[in-house]
């Protein structure tokens, strides 16, 4: 199995939810604003727990927030 990349739609979902701020989301899911920033910039892949918490904060499934894209081998 090749290596892949986890992307997310957190920024899009925040704006779709009344322009929720990064701090609001961080407070809802119990993490720091810097972690939300790192997630949005694709610099950090969250734990399964945090991924579920973020999805729940938006009222969507984890798959609606996070996508796994497998890169071609070679």
């Amino acid at each position: 199995m090749g290596t892949g990349e986890v992307t997310n739609r957190i920024r899009r979902l925040r704006f779709d939810h009344g322009e929720m701020t990064q701090q609001d989301l961080a407070s809802k899911v119990g993490c720091t604003r810097q972690t939300i920033i790192a997630l949005e910039q694709g610099k950090y892949v969250p734990s399964v727990t945090l991924a579920f918490q973020i999805a729940r904060a938006f009222g969507v499934t984890v798959e609606d927030v996070f996508q796994y894209e497998e890169s071609p081998e070679g």
């Binding site: 993490c31 720091t32 810097q34 972690t35 950090y44």
Partner: protein, 145 residues
């Protein structure tokens, strides 16, 4: 900047002032005077305890200023901070190595070192350990970028 980084900057500032104050006492009076001069010993002990108290107070004050509900550390912070003990251990080992080399060079001919130095090695190891709790935190966040 995460709450942990803010704390690390404050801790580093305290640690640097603390270290410089202790070094200044030893430079001014001479390390070997520690054994004979009760006033110097009292000053060093007071500075040592004051530094630790200032560091602990800083941890409490920063926690209090952030509010009870604020998240001070999350899973990403914990992941980053796992590397800090490595930096601390490296710094302490380097400090002990520096002591060993310096004392060997200076007291080679006498074949023995004044009894004050094992204590100074111990105190310096504690100070370096505390300073590198902050410096190591900043390095870990910097590398995580």
């Amino acid at each position: 900047m995460t709450p942990q980084q803010k704390r690390a900057w404050y801790g580093l500032a305290i640690g640097i002032v603390w270290s410089l104050a202790l070094v200044a006492v030893f430079v001014a009076r001479g390390a070997t005077a520690f054994d004979q001069d009760a006033g110097m010993r009292a000053t060093v002990y007071l500075l040592f305890i004051a530094g630790i108290l200032a560091y602990v107070a800083m941890l409490y004050i920063t926690r209090w200023s952030m509010g009870k509900q604020a998240v001070v550390m999350d899973e990403r912070d914990r992941l980053i901070l796992r590397k800090v003990p490595v930096y601390q251990m490296f710094a302490v080992l380097m400090t002990l190595a520096a002591w060993a080399v310096a004392l060997s060079e200076v007291y080679q001919d006498q074949g023995q070192v004044p009894v004050v130095f094992p204590w100074l090695m111990f105190y310096s190891a504690i100070i370096v350990n505390i300073v590198f709790a902050s410096a190591g935190t900043l390095i870990a966040y910097w590398r995580a970028k």
